[in-house]
Amino acid sequence: MIFAVASGKGGTGKTTVTASLATVWDAPLVAVDLDVEEPNLHLFLQPCIDGRETAHLTVPVVDKAKCTHCGACSDLCQFSAITVMGQLILTFPEMCHGCGGCFAVCPEKALSPGRRELGEITWGRAGRVDFLSGRLRVGEAMSPPLMRRVKASLEQRLAAQGGDAVIDAPPGVSCPAVTAVLDSDVILLVTEPTPFGFYDFQLAWEAFRTLGKPLGAVVNRAGLGHDAVYGFCREKELPILAEIPYDRAIAEAYARGRIIAGISPGLQETFVSLLGKMRDLARQSPPRKAAHA
């Protein structure tokens, strides 16, 4: 089973929850950092890195001797990554989404595969947990292509060794966040009961509920702000699976890079209980089919 930890608003506690869950998990687990623009799960899990590889996207390279400037590629490309202007053909590799459409429509077979570096995938072990993470190349504008590579690596690992995965997703509700949760069985939404947290929580609920996966909420910094999130969850029948108190000791532990499930028996119990409820939700999850973000 794959559990995605998402949020809407950033800074609500996705990584805090993911790292704590990893320490109480009751089965083989891959902990995955899919927040490739600013990965930070490693700061808490402190894995020993076993390997790393550079990920690339296939982009078109034009053989100018073969190109007749027919414009088929240019008409197809929605991102102007390949553009015919009169008797000239230009490519903008950084605009390419890697769909491969231009290769398919070129009648002259004038395109050959080139590549654009997306970033790096690293893996290793943190205690008994497998660790997997992506890190976007500085300057790369699109994170979903690298995220898909990390997810492919995750699928291979799960197929080979079984077990579960917990995904630390990027914030927001746009393509990167959707890409992170798309292949999961259960989506956990971590929120905080502040006006900003609540607003983005509603956006996340709207965006993710259409995916037809069981959703559960975790209220972090409970006791802060107001109670609108509780009313919303009741109204939408969105179960609140755990509450993490607004507490100075938690903030201090986090600031030192500690995993908060380890700082008190009460918090340990919070995450054990959360995991149990996530497993209950997973039983309601429809069978996963191959999906493409």
């Binding site: 240019s74 490309c77 991102f79 102007s80 553009t83 202007m85 009169g86 000239l88 230009l90 605009m95």
Partner: protein, 120 residues
């Protein structure tokens, strides 16, 4: 060549120069000898997530102009315009299309050597 394109907020010479190139409302193509004008609508650029500047360069290149007058041009659009030999006059926002054109005809518009807007 005497045809130029000016980014325009509307179809007449008295409309304002649209400061944006890629996402301009449209382009007024003016033949400076005959003063024939032709308006090319660029409304579809508003729905493009990316690549609007390059598509716009394609549009004005097809119109057969030798010069573009506008406000700001990004690096990719500039590269595309330069590739087909279209000169670019920038920072003309705030004028009407007619004023920009007159300024160009008097030789007061300096042709740019590079983009004046960061890419997105």
């Amino acid at each position: 060549m005497t045809r130029i394109a000016v980014t325009s907020e509307g179809p007449s010479l008295d409309d304002r120069v649209d400061p944006r190139f890629g996402r301009a409302a449209g382009f007024l193509v003016v033949d400076l000898e005959t003063m024939d004008i032709q308006y090319i609508d660029n409304g579809q650029s508003q729905v493009m997530a990316q690549g609007a500047g390059i598509k716009a360069a394609q549009l004005v290149a097809r119109a057969g102009v030798s010069c573009l007058l506008t406000g700001y041009v990004g690096p990719k659009a500039f590269q595309a315009l330069a590739a087909v030999g279209i000169k670019v006059g920038q920072n003309l926002e705030g004028l009407t299309v007619r004023q920009a054109m007159e300024r160009y005809k008097s030789g007061l518009v300096e042709m740019a050597s590079g983009a004046n807007q960061a890419g997105r």
